[in-house]
Symmetry: C2
Subunit: 223 residues, 2 copies
């Protein structure tokens, strides 16, 4: 009975870590969507709110880190549970850095809003939506232990990379045609790269999840 | 005696993780220096070697990860040792991503070598040297538990950021003056951003080290 009680408490603690990670992931998704909404609608207030919300993400990172360390110290888990917690520690770092990227998008948006618009955004919102879904699916794959979903995230990264290349090429033609557009085009280019990095973080998470489930490291293999 | 023997073996294992991390850090430093040497001297062979050496870094990451998990499972460390190992797990991820940045520099260098040079590089080698020292010092701070050295790394990041800003502004003037320079200038801009990200990874490591030593999280405070 003692052992069963212990094990139930441990399960509760692992579930709590799972829930906190999902909560953090949900907030990061909102940041991604809001940062792009602020860009497309030239909404500086929203951009400011995105920048401010990064603090919340940083706080969550520290809390989940501490929680993982507590559980590791108290429960001394083995095998699968150990792998789960050490992976959670790595994943929060990726989520926190996604928050940093959203804050960067917010900052560039504030700068862009002080100048006339260069062009309507078409590929960028698709890229943001795609990246947000990748973050969500990578976390779902983690908490559900779903390797097929994780593989999907890895494959989807190529599409975001392709969109980023397309945006960069398009911006290049703007810059060549009109030197006064260069400064704005470079800021838009930076935002595109932020989104590409967000998708990279999601892919990193997915690759680590596959390693957790399959014991197979695909981080440095082509799949 | 049994306990002492156990403890000695554990110390040996922790030391081995320390040594492996330093070894990985040393290889990453060489990559940073070589990638810039390849850029400055337009040496495509060296750039190819940098790209190829990323595999070695990836292998080291997987090995150290596995070693940390083994020690966690077998020794079930508490307090300081636990914090040390979980931090090692996070640090290898940063080192691996520094390797990715060097590989990116190598790829851009190969592209740049197919076109005439834009200008001599002055700030970029300084930025690379600075970033390499930051990586080394961040790791030294980790293995020696030296918080003062870690604080220094955090402060030094500003200098690399300033150099990156300066390079970006300079490239902008090139692009405005001569549209045929834009494609090359953007590649150089990407390399500059790679170096900035390398310094960011070193700073991330240093911030985590300060947290390990002081129990104080400065990741999200201004120091």
């Amino acid at each position: 009975m003692e052992r069963e009680h212990y094990s139930k408490q441990f399960d509760t603690e692992l579930n709590e870590i799972r829930q906190r990670l999902l909560e953090m992931g949900g907030k990061v998704e909102v940041m991604i969507n809001d940062s792009l909404k602020a860009l497309v609608e030239r909404d500086s207030d929203l951009a400011e709110r995105v920048i401010a919300s990064d603090h919340e993400i940083n706080r969550l990172e520290m809390e989940i880190d501490e929680r993982c360390l507590e559980v590791l110290a108290r429960r001394q888990p083995a095998a699968r549970d150990l792998r789960f917690i050490t992976l959670a520690l790595k994943i929060v770092t990726d989520l926190e850095r996604i928050g940093d990227q959203c804050r960067n998008i917010g900052k560039r948006t504030l700068e862009l809003n002080e100048e006339p618009p260069l062009k309507p955004y078409i590929d960028m919102p698709r890229m943001a939506q795609w990246s947000g879904v990748m973050v969500k699916e990578a976390l779902d794959a983690f908490v559900q232990g779903d390797d097929q979903l994780a593989y999907k995230v890895c494959r989807d990264d190529q599409f975001v990379d392709d969109l980023n290349d397309q945006i960069q090429r398009e911006l290049l033609t703007f810059m060549i045609a009109d030197p006064t557009s260069i400064s704005r085009a470079m800021k838009i280019n930076q935002i595109s790269k932020c989104l590409e990095r967000i998708a990279d973080h999601a892919t990193n998470v997915a690759e680590m999840v596959i390693f957790m489930i399959k014991g197979k490291d695909i981080r440095h293999m082509s799949i």
